[in-house]
């Protein structure tokens, strides 16, 4: 039991911070909000050269084979720097391929991800914004050696620059299993790798709070080779769940990094801003807000790394992931809002950088599961299974 970073983890963190402080000023995040690509290819290439893009991908495919906690550290530092790079969506899809993809898919895709010449994304949500299998209506119908994919996906991250998109779709109707369908709505789902340049694929960019690149994506009779199936046909749901869990925990790391930096900016501002003849940092009302900001970020960080660590150990972790996301949703938002409050009117000004963090953290609270969704999962594991609960003992996830 040692919940603090060890020497090696601390070293990776320090190096990442130094690099990003030099290479990724807030100006870059601001510029990329108006950029067509939304990310700077030079920075992306440098990150690849540092080995970050494949840090948790298998060594035999050009990665570093390090635990997810290391990717978490990178995501935390990227969040701190609000680095406008498509790593989160790329890593989510690449890790799913590393887990469940065929040898051929892994050989084709993963080395390119590590090298920095393949951006990936994933698509799950449709009209109903809940991470439940019954919300999936996009359908892939077999046709010779191909599937014909039809459906619409919402909130697809970095679709504008992704070469491949890992799409959650139905290959069999939920009712195909007859009476068991209601009990097992996950049956009949599959994951397909879709080339975003395929005929029949189109997208509409969404204008978002974070001014990031998200799209509504239309698949209109898109022909996808059956060889692009990731994992077994009809049995994609467990793979999707693990992909979502990993992505959620990694997003938490990014939120924690951004929220801590945002808190630090609030604290620094308070030390320099004078009112009533003294720095406002000398007022207890301000001090106590700042103390709470640090408590909240620390809490989110501890929950996040416990979740990532459990996944690394191959232990059930979806309850831990939900704990981290529900807490980060509420508390990281409280942190960035508090920092806005400390900054007064300045934080409201477009020319001042603080809003770059505020808008992103706020937007990330809505991504990959709301507080209500995640708490519902926790309540299930606590209340809907027999046996007494005890803190510190594993809660077994349900569903």
């Amino acid at each position: 039991m040692d919940v603090l970073p060890n020497e090696e983890e601390q070293m990776v963190k320090n190096l990442a911070r130094e690099f990003l402080e030099a290479e990724c000023p807030p100006r870059l995040a601001r510029e990329m909000e108006k950029d067509d690509l939304g990310y700077p290819p030079e920075l992306w290439q440098k990150m690849a050269d540092l080995g970050w893009l494949g840090i948790s991908l298998p060594e035999e495919h050009g990665g570093q084979g390090l635990p997810l906690t290391y990717l978490g550290i990178i995501m935390e530092e990227l969040g701190r720097a609000i680095a406008p790079v498509p790593l989160h969506s790329t890593a989510m899809a690449a890790l799913a391929v590393a887990e469940a993809g065929s040898a051929e898919q892994q050989r084709q895709l993963l080395p390119r991800v590590s090298r920095g010449d393949l951006i990936l994304t994933w698509a799950f949500t449709e009209q109903t914004p809940r991470f439940r299998p019954e919300t999936i209506h996009a359908e892939a119908v077999p046709d010779g050696d191909d599937f014909i994919l039809t459906g619409t996906k919402m909130f697809v991250d970095n679709f504008n620059v992704a070469e491949q998109c890992l799409v959650a779709c139905r290959t069999a109707p939920a009712a195909a299993d007859g009476d068991t369908a209601a009990a097992n709505p996950g049956a009949g789902l599959s994951l397909l790798l879709v080339d975003t340049a395929s005929r029949g694929v189109s997208h509409t960019p969404l204008t978002t709070l974070a001014k990031d690149k998200q799209s509504k994506v239309f698949f209109d009779g898109v022909r996808v080779p059956q060889a692009n199936l990731v994992g077994p046909r009809h049995q994609g749901w467990p793979i999707i769940q693990r992909m979502l869990d990993r992505g959620t925990a990694l997003l938490c790391a990014q939120m924690v990094g951004a929220a801590r930096k945002d808190a630090e900016m609030g604290i620094d501002y308070a030390k320099n801003r004078a009112a009533f003849g003294r720095p406002i940092a000398a007022f207890q009302s301000i001090q106590h807000i700042c103390a709470d900001m640090i408590l909240w970020v620390d809490g989110g960080q501890l929950l996040t790394y416990e979740a990532l660590w459990k996944m690394d150990q191959g232990l059930p972790a979806s309850v831990e992931v939900s704990q981290a996301k529900a807490f980060c949703n509420d508390k990281c938002e409280a942190v960035v809002r508090s920092s806005q409050v400390i900054h007064g009117g300045m934080g409201f000004m477009m020319e001042f950088d603080l809003h770059l963090w505020f808008r992103r953290v706020t937007a990330w609270t809505m991504r990959l599961g709301t507080s209500f969704e995640h708490r519902a999962k926790i309540a299930q594991s606590l209340l809907d299974q027999p046996g007494r609960v005890r803190l510190g003992m594993d809660q077994i996830p349900v569903g």
Binding site: L4, A326, R375
Partner: protein
Amino acid sequence: MDFAYTPEQESLRQEVRAFIEENVSPEVRQEIEELGIRHRGPKVREMYRKLGERGWVGISWPKEYGGQDGSRIDQYIVEEEFARAGITVGGAGSGAPAILAAGTEEQKKYFLPGLIKGEISFALGFTEPQAGADLASLQCRAVRDGDDYVINGQKMFTTAAHYASHIYLMARTDPEAPKHRGISIFLFPMDTPGITVRPLWTIQNDPPAPSGTTYGDARTNEVFFEDVRIPASCLLGDENMGWYVGAMGLNLDRVGASRYLISVKRDEDIVNYVKENQLGDYAVAEDPSVRDRIAELWIEAQVCRLMTMRSMSLVEQGGNFTYEGSAEKVFAPEHGVRTTETISQILGPYAQLLNGSEDAIEEGVFAHNLMGSFQSGINHGSTQVMRDQIARRGLGMPRG
């Protein structure tokens, strides 16, 4: 990072559980019910003696003073299992960390083995009627007189004073110096002539709280010192350095299993209760509002656990606390209050029924907790003072 206990630590936990099963018999429990855990009757004393034989008290203290040179995590595991069984073993508030940091060889050899054997325990003589949060303004006086000191003054909320063997007293030795630089710490027996202990009764125990009630004690005390003469060898650390000597031990005294469990035990209790019970026709565990709130509290409880683990990890790495102990001391007690108050809204009017009342749930434990939960955010440094410390020591913010 490593969020698991080692196999050795897991097996220690099993050993401790087996020990508790074997040695905390119904007779021992009955004696605890009758006398309280701190007034040890013969059966409880025998249980503590066996516990000492296993080397499970003060595991992380040096061998030469009766400890095991073991890990703080091992000690935490033992403390946690016993605390869950309603029994206090070493841990928070023992005074030992400051003695280890600042005591003379003679003091370490006398007090530490005595604490381990359970023959010595300390009442903490800090607070005074006019010195609570502003502890450094304390007025209790210690005046050097030849080879002795003579103590005059009053302490307040000295909870263990009526059963502890010794007092860990903060007194003013230099009234001319700036307030933090004129304080010293003394360790001496409670039966020294000139000490008077008077009870102060708390709101939590009328009627008597059931076992398993957390937070407050039934009784605390005020203690009067009238020309109390003690040898100069009772001084801990250097004269007038008491404020800093005390601070050495304080962070370590704030962390540990019993303090953590005080704040989170109720989370387990309410989950287990609503899983196993309905209130009339109302299936509590199926109420979506209750489910959401319980999950929210459960997450906070996990944060309390992880903050405690962080403190343990810091100690194990030999690192220094800047704000982490204070962080734990803010988050956990306030969480405990949120849980206790939420339970009252989950159980409704049943949560007002005290011990002995018709229809009281679990002997009224939830009602008795309601009267005491806020108290853990007050004692041993209030959450407001803790936030000051986080801001000033942790974040480098200036004094007002």
